[in-house]
Every structure is written in structure tokens, then in C-alpha cells.
Symmetry: C2
Subunit: 304 residues, 2 copies
């Protein structure tokens, strides 16, 4: 099966710590890379991941707080130095283009490639990007500024071919795609063999949801229901719930409640406040509600 | 003696590597911190250094290329989150304020402190900053955009008091400062004792020069003559001299020639091109001309 992996480049929050970089991730699906958020130092972590810079065409920015986008000018500049010529698409809240373009025009005025900004709808869930293999949908979140999470859904895949049956009926190679698509096979004797004889059902499409930053928001549950992995911010522990409310962030327990309600396969929590040198407290609080929880860490690779 | 140290936060060049951060340094003198350049990730490296964020009041930016200033918005934002209230002074080429203020107004609109930008003269050497203990002078460099290096000079210090002579003549504490400043002491018998009896000459003022980025420029030699430590960029090795000329950078040998001509105490080379996984070649080429050379590295602490 093609890999569908998420590489955590940074899972800290606004204040730097000796342990965490600010938010950034790379989704690796069918040999293409997609960046989610681009905090300061994202390009440095990207380099360390050994993933290829030229495989990235789309960057998704959840919201315009510095710890989610201050890495953009550096990354864009580096892509230029590396000789990129293909267009780059940045999906971000409305103001991103107005804010970053003057800086890019000054510092990267001779970029050998084009940048296209497009606005992400953070009010309603809508499809932001779609191709043959992937659909990315916005997840409206509840933060201090317009914010959207992102649902990465693999497109339904072709059924598996049963090699032995193809050999048995001597199906020519040229007809295999049609059979995968549901056509029957007509033998030399004029016998009609239904496609199901030749195929096993496809693996179910895999799904990944990224929800950061947000206050506890139950309305996202139907959008993310059943995803294989949910990354949800868990900035605070329950003792600091008042601070979480004030700043429109979630506690680890709230992240776990969302995971449980959405019946996700696994929860990965991140965007940790700098106040917790030991994040075990966040993990413990989440696991009480949703045992399949893990702490994010820099250079973690999540297999979806 | 008060410490005078330089902490290297980053010594790479524009392209990120797995080893280096882009340019940034902290000068630590008399318990105050001064930042030189602020490449992406500077605040993350600053945090790792265990130096105190609140001790920084002045930031010096050599030139407006991204690898020397893309860390500014993140650092400025963090200083605000940490509750800073005292003014921050940014000494940088003319356009810095125009470029960064719109970003700061959007992302850091409720900063609890003021930022003052002031223009650095990169055409002529002039004093940029001065207080009781330190003078910072610009060093005009030769790069693709207006660029200045920085000379950090300790102010002449008071002579050392010879405790035994103070006790012998029973000099009251109240007169010691006057003696340090050159006044004679009059004994109870009306005898005049010159100040030199009570003092040993002060240690010579220490000096540090930062020269990055620049093509080979011999005219800087008189400005940096005799500094204890010179940090000079050495982006390329001699085999890539054509590329150095094209991009207005120096080779390691050129950096060493400057160090030798200026009779500096020690040369530290940095701003390494990403093309040299092994920087030993740069060190070897420099040491042939100026043996007292060291390679910079992240978290290096240089005692001036």
C-alpha cells in the first residue's frame, strides 16, 4: 500500500522551549508532500526529515498567528534558491497574501516560481483541494482569529486484482483497468464473468484530521468522524482550564473527548504550552478518556 | 574581570542544512546582551543558550537578506509574550522598519513594549551605540545590498587598586574613586601621594568585530585592527572563488588574509555554504594564512 504518513516538524506552542519547534507538519501521500502550518524553523526541520523539498506543491495554513506561519518567508526563499520552477499554492486565511507579499517581493524578488494564495473558508467546512488521490476539506475551528483545521481524505482506491483468476481466464493486460473499474470479462466462449470474480474490495480510504488551534468545539465531530488519526491541540491540562478558555485553546481531556465522540482510530496531541516541562500529565489526562492517545514529538512519523 | 562572550546561535548561510541555523549571535558584556543578526530560528537557539531574553535591549542587523533577519518577527512576538515592557532598539538598514512594521502591527498588535528602529550607516564607519561600558561602530562591507559589520569595543576601564597601599596610607573608601580617576591622595601630614602609587594600569579594553556578509574588502583592516576576536564570513573555499566573487562573499583564505593584515588575536570563520558537508577544508585553507583560526559552530561560546 502507498505510504500515508504525517511527519511532525514542530508541536510546540507560541513560546519557544528547548524541546519544541512551533507548529508544522508534512503529510506524505502517494509520493507527494503537503505542508500543514509553517511555524518558524519549519524549513530547518523539513531539511532534517530528509523529505524532498521539491515534492511540496501545497501549503495549508490554519490561522495567522506567528507560531503557525512565521516560517513561510524562509521556506519560500529556500525553494527559490533550490531552483524550483513549478507553482506553489498557499491555502490560508484571507490576510496572508496582503501580509506576506510585500516581504516576499523585497526578499525574494527574483523567485523562479509563482506563488498562488487562496483563501480558506473557516466559517463552513468546504473542499479546499482535490485531485485523483486526495481531498482536503476545511474544519471550522473556534480560536481568537479565523482558524480552520484540515481533513485529508484519500480517494476511494481501485479494488485489488486476484492474480490467479486473471491467469485462469487468460485476461489480457489491456482489460485489467476496465475490470478494476467494474466491467465484466467476456471469455473466448462468449461467457460473461462478473468483475467481482477477479477482484477483492479496495482497502478503505485512509483519513487524517488536523485540529489546531481551537477551543473545545463539539461541532467538528461529524466532520472528523472515523478518521484513522486525529491530531488535536492539547495546549493545557485540566487544572489550567480557565486559561484554556481565555485563550481559546483546549485541554488534553477536551481533545480526548472529541476523539472519543468522533470514534477516531488514534489521537495524537500537540501544541503543548511551554509551562509543562513534563507532558506526561497531558497524556495521562487524555488517556483516561481516550486510551489510544499519543504525545506528538519533533520528528515523529505517524503512519495513517 | 567581567565576562565578554559571544554565543553563536547560527553560523550557516542561506540554504538550511541539518547542521546549521542561519546567522545570529549574542554578545554578552557586563551582564547585558546584544544580538547580532536574527536569522530564522534565532529565538529557538537563544532559548537553548539559557541566556535571559529580558537582558536584550539592542539588536544589530547587518543587512536585509532573509537568513540574517527572518527571525525578527518571532523573537519580537516572544519578548511580548514574556511580558517585556522596556523599549527595544533595532539597528538595521533603512528598509527594515518599512518591511517589518506591517507584520508586527498585525501579529503583535498588543505588544507591551515599544520598538525603535534606527538606520545603520553602511557607507561610512560610525558609532551606532554607546554607553558607559561599550561602543558599537559600523563596519562598511561589500555585499549585494547595503551591509555593515559591527565592532564591539569595551570602554577603557578603571585602573586596578593596590589593596596593600590603600591600607598602608589608610585611604578612606570615599576617596578611592577619585584616585582611580587620577587624583592624588593627601596624607594627614600634608604629604601628596600620586595616584600611581595606589593603582596598576587597567586591562586593555577588549574588542570584537563581526564581518558578515562581504566580499574581500581590504579597507576594513584599519577599523578592525588589533581586535581580540574577528568573526569573518568564509562562505566558500578557494576552488569556488568565482562563485564567491559573483555572490559578493569571501573565501576562507580571504577571511584569513584580512585577519592577518588586521593583526587580530583570533579569527572565527562562519556563514558556511551548504555545499561543504565537511568544513575542514575551509579551516585548512584559512589556517595556512592565519593559524589562529577556528570554525564557528552552533552553541559555541567565544571568550573575548
Amino acid at each position: 500500500m502507498d505510504p500515508f504518513e504525517v511527519h511532525i516538524l514542530g508541536c510546540g506552542s507560541a513560546l519557544p522551549t528547548t524541546k519544541h519547534f512551533p507548529s508544522s507538519q508534512i503529510v506524505d501521500l502517494h509520493d507527494k508532500l503537503y505542508m500543514i502550518d509553517c511555524g518558524e524553523g519549519a524549513q530547518l526541520q523539513f531539511r532534517k526529515s530528509k523529505l524532498k523539498f521539491q515534492k511540496i506543491d501545497h501549503i495549508f495554513i490554519s490561522h495567522l498567528h506567528g507560531d503557525h506561519c512565521f516560517g513561510l518567508p524562509g521556506l519560500i526563499s529556500t525553494l527559490g534558491l533550490l531552483g524550483r520552477t513549478s507553482d506553489l499554492y498557499i491555502h490560508a486565511p484571507f490576510d496572508a497574501e496582503i501580509l506576506f507579499m510585500p516581504l516576499l517581493e523585497y526578499f525574494c524578488h527574483a523567485l523562479p516560481y509563482k506563488i498562488h494564495f487562496s483563501n480558506v473558508n473557516s466559517e463552513e467546512s468546504e473542499v479546499i483541494f482535490e485531485d485523483k488521490t486526495l481531498k482536503v476539506t476545511s474544519i471550522p475551528l473556534n480560536h481568537r482569529v479565523p482558524t480552520a483545521g484540515f481533513l485529508f481524505e484519500e480517494k476511494p482506491r481501485s479494488p485489488h486484482i486476484i492474480r490467479e483468476m486473471i491467469d485462469f481466464y487468460r485476461v489480457p493486460l489491456s482489460q485489467i483497468q476496465a475490470i478494476k473499474d467494474g466491467a465484466p470479462f467476456i471469455t473466448g466462449n462468449g461467457e460473461t464473468i462478473p468483475h467481482t470474480v477477479f477482484t477483492r474490495p479496495a482497502d478503505p480510504p485512509r483519513k487524517y484530521a488536523y485540529c489546531s488551534d481551537t477551543a473545545y468545539k463539539k461541532q467538528i465531530v461529524p466532520i472528523i468522524a472515523g478518521v484513522n488519526t486525529l491530531y488535536h491541540e492539547a495546549t493545557f491540562c485540566t487544572a489550567d482550564l480557565a486559561r484554556a478558555r481565555e485563550t481559546f485553546h483546549s485541554s488534553a481531556a477536551q481533545a480526548a473527548s472529541i476523539a472519543r465522540a468522533a470514534k477516531v482510530g488514534r489521537l495524537v496531541i500537540g501544541h503543548f504550552s511551554a509551562r509543562y516541562p513534563n507532558e506526561q500529565i497531558l497524556l495521562n489526562e487524555a488517556m483516561k478518556i481516550f486510551p489510544e492517545t499519543q504525545l506528538a514529538y519533533e520528528r515523529m512519523i505517524i503512519k495513517i
